[in-house]
């Protein structure tokens, strides 16, 4: 016996709340994997359409996992990964008064970082960005990717290690 809301997601209120809470992360998740905005939007649509079609069989607690599973499986072995292009929300350094040399260095560093991110194996890149950009904890990412928390920690560790090695050149 469970507590909580009625145990389907067929209600408009429940469903739209789930969409508003999770769709952006699903979008980012697929983008980090394949670098294709259009396909990421399509993945969100497909995952939630299927959730709606099966609304009576999915409880609100299971809905998040359901949506990630659908999105995950959609392009597995089908889509070729493209370059992931990320933006910087603000300047890399906090000060506004810097020498042109310094700004140039910062710009180069930013580009190096993006290149290095794209050279990471997909699962490391996805894990790293979900943690840094979307703020997802290791346990959450483990659930989304259906692996253990230890596996996620390993990916994070290796990602950072590879990023540094590539950027520093050693």
């Amino acid at each position: 016996m469970k507590t909580g809301q009625p145990d389907t997601v067929c209600g408009e209120a429940v469903f739209s709340e789930l969409f508003r809470t999770h769709s952006k992360t699903v979008f980012n998740y697929i983008y980090y994997k394949y670098g294709n905005e259009e396909k990421s939007n399509d993945a969100v649509q497909e995952a939630f359409v299927r959730l709606w079609e099966n609304c009576s069989k999915v409880s609100p607690e299971k809905a998040k996992a359901y949506v990630y599973t659908v999105a995950n499986n959609l392009y597995l072995n089908v889509l070729k990964a493209e370059k992931v292009r990320l933006k910087y929300s603000s300047g890399l350094s906090d000060s506004t008064i810097e020498s042109p040399d310094f700004l140039m260095q910062e710009k180069e560093f930013g580009e190096k970082l993006q290149r290095a991110l794209n050279n990471l194996p997909e699962n490391q890149r996805t894990t790293f960005l979900l943690n840094r950009i979307d703020g997802k904890k290791y346990a959450e990412i483990a659930e989304m990717e259906q692996v253990s928390v230890k596996a996620i920690e390993k990916r994070m560790h290796l990602a950072l290690k590879s990023l540094r090695e590539e950027i520093d050149g050693i």
């Binding site: 209600g11 649509q45 996620i152 950072l160």
Partner: protein, 302 residues
């Protein structure tokens, strides 16, 4: 260094000593710089409203849609309702207004014609504000008491069956495996499993675990849950405990209990200790209560 220490570092899981040792390394500055830069990254722009609108377009069926659950038994009775579905085998609520109650919550809904609905815990009611003039149609999941203003036909649709009335007071309860309609005033027609049943004031119709039962209620009164009490007459214990969970928003576990045993009695919706006693004593159970968890159990019979 610890296994996966970089991951632990990012998660603030290193001890002070470990952190100090890490900061001494030559690579530390690079790692810090990478993390600082990564924290400022963001993904491509995403418009959630636009995406939601696009989703809604996809999930509406083409053509005229009537708000109801995809319940096959409703189709055979629904001669009065025109349905046009193009290529999809599911329906969606295109009703404007949806009101839901969580566990341990009850609420009152005033419909546009001054009909009144009292929604019990863990329930959801939907209806179309715009279409109310033409059609008084609500869809219900859970339990509600209706006071319907006199006027055109008023229909309540649930997953298990539908109820049609012409200005009266009645209670509808639909939960998994359980469907009950009680008429307190006026006349109600219940469409269930393709058959129609007429319920005059003072009678009730119940389907429990596939069994159809007719019973009586005191006419001119209101259901006990409106007076903060839940009453049951020969109802399997499973349903009693589910209602208990809904009223108090707790989780119930049982051990060595026959959930099919019939329960007749009442429990308070406002005092959990009284409620626990009211349920356990007649059923000869013991219970424990820990925060939000209740365990009902019986000792093993030697």
């Amino acid at each position: 260094m610890k296994d996966n220490y970089l991951a632990k570092w990012l998660n603030n899981e290193l001890t002070e000593a470990e952190l100090a040792a890490f900061k001494e390394t030559a690579e530390y500055a690079s790692y810090q710089r990478i993390v600082n830069a990564s924290d400022k990254l963001q993904g491509p722009s995403y418009d959630v409203d636009k995406a939601y609108a696009r989703l809604r377009d996809k999930t509406s069926a083409g053509g005229k849609v009537v708000q109801m659950r995809s319940s096959r038994m409703y189709w055979s009775a629904a001669a009065a309702v025109a349905v046009l579905i193009a290529f999809s085998f599911f329906y969606i609520n295109t009703l404007d207004e949806t009101i839901s109650t969580a566990y341990a919550e009850q609420t009152r809904v005033n419909l546009p014609d001054e009909s009144e609905v009292l929604l019990n815990a863990g329930s959801e009611l939907s209806y179309s504000k715009r279409k109310w003039d033409k059609q008084r149609n609500v869809s219900l999941q859970g339990e509600a008491f209706f006071r319907v203003a006199k006027g055109k036909k008023f229909t309540v649709t649930t997953e298990s069956g539908s109820v049609t009335v012409l200005g009266t007071q009645f209670n509808v309860e639909q939960r998994k495996g359980f469907f009950e309609v009680s008429c307190f005033e006026g006349l109600v027609s219940v469409s269930f499993n393709g058959r129609e049943h007429r319920l005059p004031a003072g009678s009730s119709l119940m389907m429990v675990d596939g069994q159809l039962v007719t019973a009586s209620v005191a006419p001119g009164t209101t259901p006990s849950w409106l007076n903060d009490e839940s009453s049951f007459k020969s109802i399997p214990l499973a349903y009693v405990l589910q209602e208990f969970e809904r009223q108090f928003d707790v989780q119930v576990e049982t051990r060595n209990i026959d959930l099919g045993q019939l329960f007749t009695g009442t429990f308070s919706n406002t005092d959990i200790h009284l409620a626990l006693q009211s349920i356990s004593t007649p059923s000869q159970m013991k219970y424990t209560l820990e925060e939000n968890n209740v365990l009902f159990y019986a000792e093993d019979i030697p």
